[in-house]
Amino acid sequence: MSRTRTVRLVAAREITERLRSRTTRLVTVITALLVVGAVTIPGLIKESSKPTRIGLVGPAARALAPTLERGARAAKVEISLTEAPGEAQGRAELRKGELDVLLSLAAPSKTAKVQVEQALSTTIGALISATVEQARLDAVLARAGVPLSKVLPVLAAAPIAVAVLKPAAPHEDARIVAAIAAALLMYLSLTLYGTAVATGVAQEKTSRTAEVLLASVRPGQLLAGKVAGIGLTGLGQLAIAAGAGLIANALSQSAKIPASVWALLPSFLAFFLVGFVLYAFVLAAAGALVSRQEEVQSVLLPVAMPLVLGYLLVFAAVGSPNATWLRVASLLPPLSATLMPARIALGHIAWWELPLDALLMLASILAVARIASRIYARALLHSGPRVGWRVALRLPGHAERGHSGASVT
């Protein structure tokens, strides 16, 4: 029987049994819902934000309506104007919540009175004060016999030439959010599926299923199949979540998430795959070291540390995306899986960094897979108390038997 067929069988069992489990299905649905929520809820909030209702009391206030509306459009705030018959009645409407702001102005030269129930938003405050200011200026000039048209050019702000030395990448805010989200998602999914590998290996060991398996499967095949099966399940779940997010984004029309951010998706999935494989081998070896299922958590901890570190460094990366230490750190394989996708999202990456990173990742996967398989093969049948990995490497082995069989005469 070919070796790949065995690996495929092991992987297929992992996938089938995982898809059959209620937990997996639940996690898939929850992840998809979270992503859909993250994509659509900003849009929903925006849609539900109501215009500020301003009640106008007095003829001078009413005369301000066109200027207020023009100003609101320029400032991109929504307002709706109503004429209140009197101040007392306007205040009553304010208390009932039918109005947000009450603006009373008897004549342009008088003091304008603004009343709110609790607080006046700065934008609306600025809008009103600018409008009132302009109206008063208008009135004063008219009284002095100077037509406004003559004054306006003088009043206009002196032209300033603005030179931006460090232009922000398009959608800078969205990119920062995407970077942090990518790192968080990577950290969570690597932890989730990495733990699944360690737990699965520990289960096979402690339930002694490993011995039955090893009668027909080599440890390397078992390990490869397990990593492939769990990795593909994880990739599938993430792809479903991403697909749900894309559809939700298209349907909600909130256009909160720009296409440049969605373009990061393939690289995110690619980094998940290599990051997962790297961690999965280490975690499989770690899982094989335990003697009881309860010990899995304690062997997971040291392996998960670089993942946590990588995630935390992303916050520093957002502040200084070009720092040398960050470039170096993101090339280190254990940190790369979380840091590099975040840096791609931030968009400050040199052309040579990705190929170099890919090379380093693949090299370290090969090296880690070799050592991890040796530890795995030796520790898997070792019963008794938990062993350290150095001890495991010295245990009598199973893996190295040749195709010619057990003849060592």
């Binding site: 011995e211 039955v212 080599r218 038997r401 069989g405």
Partner: protein, 294 residues
Amino acid sequence: MLEVLDLHHRFGDVLALDGVTLAVGEGELVGLVGRNGAGKTTAMRAIMGILQPDEGTVRWRGDPVGDSERLRFGYMPEERGLYAQMRIGDQVAYFARLHGVERRAATQAATRWLTRLGLGGRAQDLLVTLSHGNQQRVQLAVALAHDPLALVLDEPFAGLDPEAVDSLSEVLREQGADGRSILFSSHQLELVERICRRVVVLDAGQVIAAGTLAELRERFPAQLRVRVGSSTDWASRLDGVTVLRSDEDGVLLLVDPGVDSQAILRAAQKAGPVERFAFESAGLIDLYRQMISR
């Protein structure tokens, strides 16, 4: 024929196998007996390639056993192990496929074996929902579903109720009759005696005896039951004779090979009227005790 030639293996300071050689012919059931730590499990793991012995060869039909030959072996380890949260039908089929059986054939074999072992209606049940005895049956189905040429079963009877013991004995006899080579270990010597033609006794990593029960009996003192009235101490002075025990049924003597039984009869007659004088065929248990106590 499954042959094990001169296996040596050491775990640190412990010499687990010290030149174990044994053979199981096709259609033959061989019982592997010995106390705990004698090396039975290590020998079986070495046969299955789960453990790489320091020295020694395992041959099948004259050729060294490799991965592809081992796929035609069936194995039941001493510590049973299957996936608790997997349906038993899928589980048996999965292990059969790992042994190279195609998907359809594997599913059919799983159904056939589960039905044969009395679990026909439960293929969709998770292993964990089965009783201990039924889980053992699934383990046996896993060892058998790929239609192995040789079976290596480590303590297959451990923990079985009498009914399950009978049904497993029947399956093993059937498998033997089909021409398979079956090696199994057991502490239940009366069982080994009942179903095996040949026995291999391991002690401290060495084969201390091997052969059919009749062959083993010839090498060890025979048991002679004599009742002479109420006298019991007449036999203690005889050469080549040991008093195993004395009770209301008289004395049970161990008679070394070559001792003239007529001389014993004459000595008995001197002591009183001989009411009973008969050789009893030693059971495996008696033989085993003698071997181990040497």
